[in-house]
């Protein structure tokens, strides 16, 4: 097990190297002037572009630039984020908690709802429950996330004035800043900090802003889980051990939950990596529409500003998260399926 984890961590380094080369290669498709233009915001500044090229060594051979970049990264300097107006590494810590908060709330819901609905559909195959959930899943799958999010925003905030966009209301935010002694931002997530500091109304306010984002996120991601769960259940329910259990005198609930569902969870775990990826993608649209300043938002805005250093760092970061989450998934796999042994 330990050996396995160590191997996977080595693999992580390999992946990071690969990703960095890949992205750096993409960055180098820009002309040096174009890369210097990143530092320019007004027509007036444009005249300094050739000087900027020289200052930042953007005309050097690619391997030298790459080596310089690696050296900078090794010393903790991931570059400058235009959107965040601060170094990438610092900006990361202010954006990451927002995304984490969203997914911490959405993921359990996704898992519970997805597994529950998938099981239900699988057990009640070809009934209206099955058809309903399936069609729901396909329609959900066919909805562009951002469109759905916008419609939600329009209905709830536009017409009813409920669930405002953003992370927290400005009153609360102001109160938090004015009372640093009463409110410490331990995690950067208002929901959790509110509980830790004993100011539940802060949590409530933050949750109020989270309702629509979480709803969108859940609906985007849950379709996949539901589908896999359903087909897993169908497959498992046709297996012989189900008949064995039946012949033992097991009731339907025991068969479905204790026997079939546990087995059906195994294919679900194989798509867990995909679920993580989906959540990341979902976060982009959700955060942009609901103007929540998180990783996805940062990424989208950096992309529109063609801010390559950020894109690079974010890609690397996502690579790390992805490989680590796959590692966790593998360990979970081994836990659920006794036949697997990690070596």
């Amino acid at each position: 097990m330990t050996a396995y984890i160590i191997r996977r961590l080595l693999f992580l380094i390999f992946v990071l190297f690969g990703v960095s080369v890949l992205i750096f290669g993409l960055l180098m498709t820009f002309s040096p002037e174009r890369r210097a233009a990143v530092y320019v915001t007004t027509p007036q500044q444009a005249k300094d572009i050739p000087k900027l090229v020289k200052q930042y060594g953007l005309n050097d051979p690619v391997p030298i630039q790459y080596a310089r970049w690696v050296k900078e990264v090794a010393s903790g300097n991931l570059g400058w984020s235009l959107v965040a107006a601060r170094p990438v590494a610092k900006a990361f810590w202010s954006y990451f908690p927002t995304t984490l908060e969203l997914n911490l709330l959405a993921s359990p819901l996704v898992i519970i709802v997805g597994i529950w609905l998938g099981t239900l559909a699988g057990v009640h195959r070809d009934t209206w429950i099955d058809h309903g959930t399936r069609i729901g899943a396909i329609v959900g799958w066919s909805l562009p996330t951002f469109l759905f999010a916008l419609v939600l925003l329009m209905i709830f905030y536009g017409y009813y004035g409920l669930f405002p966009p953003g992370i927290i209301s400005s009153d609360t935010s102001l109160w938090v800043i004015n009372n640093p002694d009463k409110f410490t931002r331990y995690t950067g997530m208002y929901t959790i900090d509110g509980i830790l500091n004993g100011h539940l109304w802060v949590t409530w306010d933050a949750l109020n802003h989270l309702v629509l984002p979480v709803l969108t996120q859940v609906i985007v991601v849950v379709a996949l889980l539901m589908r896999v769960m359903r087909s897993g259940m169908l497959e498992e329910l046709s297996r012989d051990y189900v008949i064995t259990a039946k012949a033992k005198g097991a009731d339907a609930h025991t068969i479905n939950i204790k026997h079939a569902r546990k087995n059906a969870l195994i294919p679900v775990i194989t798509v867990a990596g995909q679920l993580v990826a989906l959540s990341m993608e979902g976060s982009i649209a959700v955060e942009v529409v609901f103007s929540r300043q998180g990783m996805g938002w940062w990424l989208a805005h950096s992309a529109t500003q063609l801010d390559m250093p950020v894109l690079m760092s974010v890609c690397m970061f996502i690579g790390v998260v992805f490989v680590l989450s796959n590692l966790i998934i593998d360990i979970m796999y081994a836990y659920i399926d006794p036949r697997i042994q990690l070596q």
Binding site: S238, R239, D240, Y241, I243, T244, A245, K246, A247, K248, G249, A250, D251, T254, K258, H259, K262, N263, I266, I336, D337, P338, R339
Partner: protein, 388 residues
């Protein structure tokens, strides 16, 4: 002897894309108390469907269309039979695994890969023996063998209720509540203990360790024993062994058959319904034999009569295809192949392959005719055959 189980004109169809598969066509067999009944036939002839229909565990798209399955638990009062096909699903659940249980042919598939052996065997007890286990736990507590500390009053109350009615609403509610649901733990432990007991009785020495393992850690023979242990857990009146030994080595096969014989002698089980395509096994273990072909029962007789004096052409052909030590010469084969049961041959289903087939065979279904001594045959040409 008194009848234990009787099927009358059992009809089961499977509804598939290619049409409805008429898997069972008026199958009627009966098994007495204390009897070992063999059901033989080629694969796909409906043996498994018959027994699964009996237990009502046919999976979709299979549907039992008609007939009766009479089950007479009490040998003293043969008139108190009940039709299993009209019983409620709940009553059937009570019956399955307790009175009638089944050994499956493929031990690899029959065991759940993600549950430990202990859990799987213990389930039988959890389904059917909660009362007796509760009583035992209460007795153990009274005698001081086990103690629950400060939870004693609560647990004692729970087990007293459970020993009266394990499905009492209060207990079911408790099982849903956090922490309180732990009341069932001692019972589960007891069930696992009993599982260890039954596995040991099957001649496995390290049973206590075995119950913590998962199926994939076990060899095929071991798994088959576990499957048998599951079936035997509650001392069923009727044990159905569906090709229980077909996939095993000859030596293990022999061991297991011996075990069944032994169990029967010790009265742990009353009757056995043995499904096999191996005529040797039948000759060795069975009292009576039924021969099936393409969803119909061709011939039923006691084992000696069948082997010495088979009447149905299919039975004869089947017996001829078995290699024997004392007979030389080529093995006889049966020409043709098993018919498609979506469109079974009209009349006698065997007629396309039967050498003796006549016009009537093609038009009319033969009825099962009793020849005396419990020997019945479904053939239009019985008279010609008996003498031979």
């Amino acid at each position: 002897m008194a009848k234990l189980l009787e099927t009358k004109n059992l009809v089961t169809n499977f509804y598939t894309y290619e049409g409805s598969v008429k898997a069972l066509d008026n199958v009627s067999i009966s098994i007495d108390h204390g009897e070992t009944f063999g059901l033989v036939g080629e694969s796909g002839c409906g043996k498994s469907v018959t027994v699964r229909s009996v237990m009502r565990i046919i999976q979709s798209p299979g549907v039992i269309e008609g007939g009766e399955v009479l089950y007479c638990d009490d040998a003293e009062h043969p008139e108190q039979c009940e039709d299993l096909l009209i019983k409620s699903e709940e009553a059937m659940r009570e019956l399955r695994g307790d009175r009638i249980s089944m050994i499956f042919q493929e031990p690899n598939a029959a065991l759940n890969p993600v549950l430990t052996i202990g859990e799987q065997v213990a389930e039988s007890y959890m389904f059917h023996r909660q009362r007796s286990m509760s009583r035992q736990i209460l007795a153990d507590v009274e005698s001081g063998k086990i103690s629950f500390g400060i939870f004693s009053p609560l647990l004692k109350w729970a087990y007293r209720r459970a020993s009266e009615n394990p499905r009492a609403p209060a207990l079911r509610l408790m099982s849903k509540l956090p922490l309180l649901k732990l009341w069932g733990r001692p019972m589960r432990r007891e069930a696992v203990n009993r599982s260890v007991g039954i596995i040991e009785r099957l001649g496995i020495s390290n049973a206590a360790e075995l119950v913590t393992r998962y199926p994939h850690n076990l060899s095929g023979g071991m798994k088959q024993r576990i499957v048998i242990a599951i079936a035997l857990a509650c001392n069923p009146t009727l044990l159905i062994a569906d090709e229980a030994t077909s996939n095993l080595d000859v030596t293990i096969q022999a061991q297991i058959l011996e075990l069944l014989q032994d169990l029967k002698e010790r009265r742990a089980i009353s009757s056995v319904l043995l499904i096999t395509h191996d005529l040797g096994v039948v000759a060795e273990t069975c009292d009576r034999v039924g021969v099936m072909y393409a969803g119909i029962l061709c011939e039923v007789a006691d084992v000696k009569t069948l082997f010495n004096n088979p009447v149905h052409p299919y039975t004869r052909a089947l017996l001829n295809s078995v290699p024997r030590f004392c007979v030389e010469g080529e093995l006889a084969t049966i020409e043709g192949s098993v018919p498609n049961l979506v469109h079974p041959p009209a009349g006698c289903r065997f007629h396309p392959r039967c050498k003796a087939a006549s016009d009537i065979c093609k038009q009319e279904k033969p009825k099962l005719v009793d020849l005396g001594n419990g020997h019945s045959v479904a053939c239009h040409h019985i008279d010609e055959k008996i003498g031979e």
